[in-house]
Structure formats: C-alpha cells, structure tokens
Subunit: 460 residues, 2 copies
C-alpha cells in the first residue's frame, strides 16, 4: 500500500484539469505519467493524438485465442474551484486515517491506479497470463470525451474484437459492499448567454430597460415548477420506469433519508412523491451548474447588467433520444427569451450521448448459461467480489454518465464491467474530494483475482 500511495501522490499532484486551456500541458504530463506506468508493466504504450488531450494506449498481446479485455480510465480531472473550500491543498494527496483527499483521488486517478495495480499483481503472479489487454486512459472524460469518438473509429481495426471493457469509475457502498454498475444516464452540456445592452448601465434607469440577469432568471426559472419537475414539452419523453428488482436493490442499500444525510441535503424535491433514487436513475435531469452576470463583489453596485450566462447540463434517461431531447430543451429556451430585446447565444459543450446499459443487468441463471466471454467476465467479477468481501456484489444503475461507454459499445461493440471504488460521499467534482483507501485496496484485490480467473477463459 505504501508504494501504491506514493504513486497516487505523484499522479494526483499533476493538475490535469481538462476544461481549462491553461492546464493543457498538465494534461500532457499526466498522460506521460500514465504512459510511463503502463510501460513499466510491460505494455507497448503510445500517446494517440485525438485533436484534444491525448489518449494513452497500452497494449499487451499474447498468442492464441484468448480474451481481449480493454481497461478504461481517465487521467483528467474536474476544476478544483472553489479553492477556498478545500481543507487540504487540492492537488496534493493527503491521507487521514482510512481516507485520502485530493482532486481526482476518487474521480478517477485512485480507482484507475487500483485497477492497474490489480492487473500488475495478476501479471506478476502469472507473467504468461493468456489475455490480450489494451489500456485506454483518456484525457477528456470530464469535458464529454468529444474527441474520443473519431479516435476510437480510427483505432477500431487495430484493436480488433473486444470482449469486455473494464473500469472503476462508479461508486460502491463500502469495502464490504461492492457495487457493479449496469447502467448510466447520458449527458449533454451547454451555456445559455443573454445580452440586452451594449454595456452595463446605471440602475437609475431601471424599470423599462432590458436586464440580462433578470431575463435569464425569468427564462430559466420558468423551466422548473415548485415540485421539482422540468416544464419543457417532451422533456420526459421515452423514459422507462425502474424495474422492481433494481428498485428493491436500491432500497436495500440505503433509505432516501440516509442518502440525503450523506450528500449534505435536507431533502429532495417533492416530485409527487416519486422515489429520488428512481428519479435520479430513470428520469432525465436539467441542472444549472453555474450562473453569473453583473456585479459579484462586496456591498451593492447599482447597475443593470448587460450580460448573463448560465451553465447547464442535462442527464439523459435510459430510453431517451439525445438529439430530440436537446432540440426540445433549446427550443423551449429560445421560445421563452424576448428576442426583441435580448441576444441569445447557446454554446454547446457536449451535444449529448445516450444513456448506457450493459446487456446483462445482473448475475442470473441466464448469464450463467451464456457462453460469451463477456458473460464469463461478468461471472468472474461476481466471484472475485464474493471472494474478497464475503458478499456478492449489488447490481445497480447510476444517475451519472460515462459517455464514452455508449460510444465504445457503438463503435467497438463491447460491453462494460464497472466495479465501483469510491463512495457516494466521496465528493466527486467538489472540494475535499476523497476516497476510502480500504475500497481501493479491496478493488485492487478484486481486479487481480478477476484477471487471474479470466486467464482460464477461452477466447472467441
């Protein structure tokens, strides 16, 4: 563990914030660091030019008909702001008891390193392990993996058939209660900006003068009702309700009150009494991630602001068409803006990827009878989790998104196995992001055991 922590400290110290142009070189450094790590493991490694931050690709090929497993992870992280809310330096690994803190320690540097360490352990134990393995560690997950599509298409021939994609970029209950994520929502991201004046104006003119901040609150505030529903025609089109088995599993894990407490909320939008777990996984969401306009300093400043911007993301539910949903949202916003007075500009960061679901929702008699390598992998992770923790994994959907999985499935035809190695209270994307080191340790053991088990599986 000591060596693992010193590696994680090195990796975490590189502020590879993909959203910020000023961190482009840090992203390159992080890519180089990961490439070096894969090289040490004996992988043939290169940085693939994506047009954006590079993709780190490491390959291990053996002779014969063996399974081909892809390890996926990302070396980029979310911005660390607001910095003043961090209790420890954001880009420094700080360990306190069983917890480690730092930007990316949970999303995704810690879990990726645990996966790679497990793989390393399996290869150390059996250097001739009959598995083809490709590691794809990308640098644009936090900005929507937009450049990865064409890169994957370009690599398709070289990669050949893939049996399963392996990743640890989702959550679990604890090191005793590991979760396998079987589905995720899709995501789109865009900014809405309004301008009503050539420049800020003295608010002594106020009353009849177009105020961009006021219009933005009117336009966006009107998209929501007091129950928490989004009031856009077609917004909930295509959704499916949570299956009974999944809803029951969710209930086993925690109550809504426990979950609210864990995330620091007093409660949930009423939403006509719908389970927040169901809403979070089976309904789309439209969140305002940030808003700004006018004066933000101390005291008051009597201006009518010329401009205002809101940053929005929409999570796309299983069953929904991202293009139709995007059109519905933007059409409603366009409709609500008084264009006689305001210039509306919409900047799309991420057009929208569909929700993802594995072909196997949970380990069942059907999966056991399935002779595919993917079903074998699904069984192997099940057994490895049971072996390490004494408990079988829980099979759950998540409300978050890993857009690349839909693209991998579409382009490369492979399904994913997602073993969660952070917790719901790990504060992903927030100050004081943290991870339970026991979870990383058990994750490493599970993955090592998993790769060992897969060595016994015949390839296609």
């Amino acid at each position: 563990m000591k060596e693992f922590l010193s590696e994680l400290a090195e990796y975490l110290a590189i502020p590879s914030v993909s959203a910020k142009p000023e961190h482009a070189e840090d992203c390159l450094r992080a890519a180089g660091w990961v490439g070096g790590r894969l090289g040490e493991m004996g992988f043939a490694t290169r940085l693939v030019d994506t047009g954006g931050h590079p993709l780190v690709m490491g390959q291990r090929r053996v002779a014969g008909r063996v399974p081909h497993l892809v390890v996926y992870g990302h070396y980029d992280v979310q911005p660390a702001e607001p910095l003043e809310l961090w209790k420890t330096p954001a880009f420094e690994l700080v360990v306190k008891g069983q917890k480690a803190y730092g930007r990316g320690v949970a999303d995704n540097k810690g879990p990726t390193l645990a996966l790679l360490a497990g793989l390393s352990d399996a290869l150390a134990k059996n250097p001739d392990l009959p598995l083809n393995i490709t590691c794809l560690i990308e640098g644009e997950e936090e900005v929507g993996s937009a450049n990865l599509h064409k890169t994957l298409s370009a690599l398709k021939k070289e990669l050949g058939h893939i049996d399963a994609v392996l990743l640890s970029d989702t959550s679990s209950g604890s090191h005793k209660d590991l979760w396998i994520t079987t589905g995720l929502r899709g995501v789109m991201a865009f900014d809405i900006s309004l301008q009503g004046l050539a420049r800020d104006l003295h608010s002594g003119n106020g009353g009849p003068i177009p105020n961009a901040v006021r219009e933005l609150t009117r336009v966006l505030g009107g998209l929501y009702d007091a129950q928490g529903w989004v009031r856009i025609p077609g917004f909930y089109k295509g959704i499916t309700r949570g299956a009974k088995a999944e809803m029951a599993a969710l209930k086993r894990i925690f109550t809504p009150a426990e979950f609210a407490h864990e995330i620091g909320a007093k409660g949930y939008y009423r939403m006509d009494g719908m389970s927040p777990f169901e809403v979070n996984r089976f309904f789309p969401s439209l969140e305002l991630n940030g808003i700004y306009g006018g004066y933000q300093g101390e005291g008051s400043k009597t201006i009518i602001p010329a401009r205002a911007t809101a940053k929005m993301t929409c999570r796309i539910a299983p069953g929904q068409d991202p293009d139709a949903l995007r059109r519905a949202i933007l059409a409603e916003i366009e409709k609500r803006v008084d264009k006689r007075l305001f210039d509306l500009s919409i900047k799309i960061h991420e057009k929208g990827t569909a929700a993802y679901a594995t072909s196997l929702p949970h380990l069942s008699a059907r999966v056991k009878a399935d002779t595919s390598v993917f079903a074998a992998a699904f069984g192997a992770v099940h057994s490895a989790v049971k072996e390490a923790t004494g408990n079988p994994p829980q099979y759950l959907r998540e409300g978050a998104s890993i857009p690349v999985l839909s693209n991998i499935k579409r382009i490369l035809g492979a399904d994913a196995i997602m073993l969660g190695l952070f917790r719901e209270d790990s504060l992903l994307h927030s100050p004081n992001e943290n991870v339970d080191l026991r979870l990383l340790k058990i994750g490493r053991e599970v993955w090592a055991d998993f790769f060992g088990r897969m060595g016994a599986v015949r390839g296609r």
Copy 2:
C-alpha cells in the same frame, strides 16, 4: 481649464471605492484630498467621523443675516469592475477631444470639482461675498449613505438654519441644454442567498436534489412577467403618474428610440405600452444587479451548486413607503422559496430611502412670488443657466437616487438645487465612464454666477 484638469486628474487617481473594504485607505486619501482643496479656498475644514468613511466638512462664516448654502458632493466611487471592458485605465484621467474618461469623472468627482471651482471663482471675484457656506463631501454615497443620518443629526445644531443644498450629481442634455432635477427615486439594496446543500455535489445525482442556482432562478424569475412588470402584491402601491408638464418636458428632450440608442439598448420592456420615461421616474423598479453561484469557468463542470446569490436593488417611486415596499418584496421572496429544502438568507445593504422631490417643481409665477431664500436660489440658478447657455434650464425628475437628500430635508429641513453636469451617455457605474468637458466648464460658470447672484440676497 488646464489647472482644473490637473486637479481632476489628481483626484480621480485615488481609487476611492467605498463598497470595497480594501479601498478604505483610498477613501481616506480622497477625503484628505478634498479637505485640502477646501482649505486652499479658505474654508475651516475637518474630517467628521461617521463610523464609516469620513465626511469632509468645510465651513465659511461671515457676519450678519446672510443666506446659508450647503454644497453637497461625494468623493467615493463605484467599483470599476469589469476592468477588462475599460478602454483606458479606470483610475487615470484620459482626455480625448471634449471628453474625459475615468471612474468617478462624472459620478461625482468632475461635477463636484466644477461646483467648487465656480465657488472659488465667485470668492476670488468678491472675497467679502456675504454668504455662509458649508461644504459636505461624503464618502458613502455609492453604498447608500447609511452612516450620514446620525452624523447629520449630530451636526444639526452646529450647522444651524440652511437655506438650500447645492449639488451637481444629476444629468443634463448638453452644455447648451442644462437640466435642473426636481425629484429622484429612493433606493434600497439587498442580497438574496440560497443554500440547499452542505457542499457542491456531482450532478450525476441530479433530478431530485435541491439545486440552489435552479431555485434562485425559479424564485426570482417568477417575480417578473414577460411584459416587464414586477409581480409582487403591493409593489406598485402608492405611485403617482407623471404630471403632464413633466411628461411634455421629457418628450422635448429625446424620443424613447433616441434614448435607447444612447444607452445601448435595442428597446424597452413592453409594459403595456407605458412610456419608458414615465416608468423610469414614476414607477418603482426591482433590478438584479448581479448573480452568482456554482461554476463560472471555461467549459462545463457537472455539479449541483450548493449556494447561489443575487444582488438586488429596488428604486422607490414618489409616493411610496420604503418600509412597506421592502416588506412586500421580501415577503414575496420568502413565500416563493421552498424552505423545507433551502436556507434563505437576506442581507440588507440599504433599508430604503423615500423618493425625493423639491418643494418647487419648476420656475413659475408662484416661485417668483415666493420670498424664501430657497425660491431666490431657484431663481438665481435659472437666471445663471439662461445667462451662460442662452436657454432656460429644463425642470425634470430622474429615475436615479441620491438618498441623502431625503435625509437632509428630514433632518436639516433644507431643499436641494440639482444642476446636472454629466449626460445620459456618461456611463455612470459602468466601464468607460466619461464626462463632456464643455459641460463641466459651463457648470463652473453657472455656479460662479449663481454664488455672485446669491450675494445680493438677504438671509433669514
């Protein structure tokens, strides 16, 4: 003019931003600078402790029953942000042709210096001018003059009877078309903050989770309708409509289209076809001066923001009770917030001062027959403007606020004469604030002539 500009350059270079604690020393420097200027003019000058930024008081007393005139101005300025929109350095006087640029050049450093220069000229011409004059140059006008009330009450006895307050802190059409402002709206200022989570949360949880930015747009956006009206019960209570003479004067000055062009707007809120000039002067307004919450950087950040804040000001129309209006606004906001999920905090910067109107709305037969010193002063400024420009002044209300005038009237019993020395396009409170130097020059002449004429008026 050269000497005047060099003085103005010195004064403007002091960044006396009263709203920002880090500029407290600059405010003190500006107070000292003004005090020095008054001392040079032979005034007995001191800095009066207000509990906030000091009040500069300069006194000239002569024997006998002479008029007592108070010159009012303020040495503090608005914050200069956003700095990147300034074409010249904000705190540096830059002269281009007839225009001078810089924060405070119009509001209020340039006009105050023009008034003081006029007074200086009158005293140079007649050192024995039979007038008592008190200069009160405060440092908290831009933050609501909150500390001035009790200071004025404390000075009341020392000041004795006051016949008129003189100031140049309003607008005019041009150096050929001077305006006397006869009324202003009141103002209140407050911040509305919401918190729905202990900390920012990954938006993968989005849908059922309280989002403070979303709630803030819903709560505040719902206060406005698409016509531009404020939807708060009691918001328009007590208002009076613009008198015919005043509305006619406004129409003489510019058309709504011309005014919109001048301020950089495409048009006005519809407001059922109401004249924007009437709405701006005779109706209250509720403006969002700024808003912030969540992520504001490049690209996207998938969080549910924990906190959001809006900065608001309300202009109080003639006839309205500030306390009742404040209660109505805050009650509606309180009512709209879902307090089960969100903590609401309201920070009041300025409780609210009533609209101000002089006892004399314009020069009329009634004013000419009035034997008060104030009526004589009203006549003197009328004649001085006619003499200097060839045209009589226009008598108009303004939509802006100078809260101290209501307090001076209430506490010291004196009415104000407001000669406008900047223009509607002077960009007060905005980047590239500017002033027409011809207007400052003519203002100096008018005020010099005015003081000369007042020397012939007998005191009470």
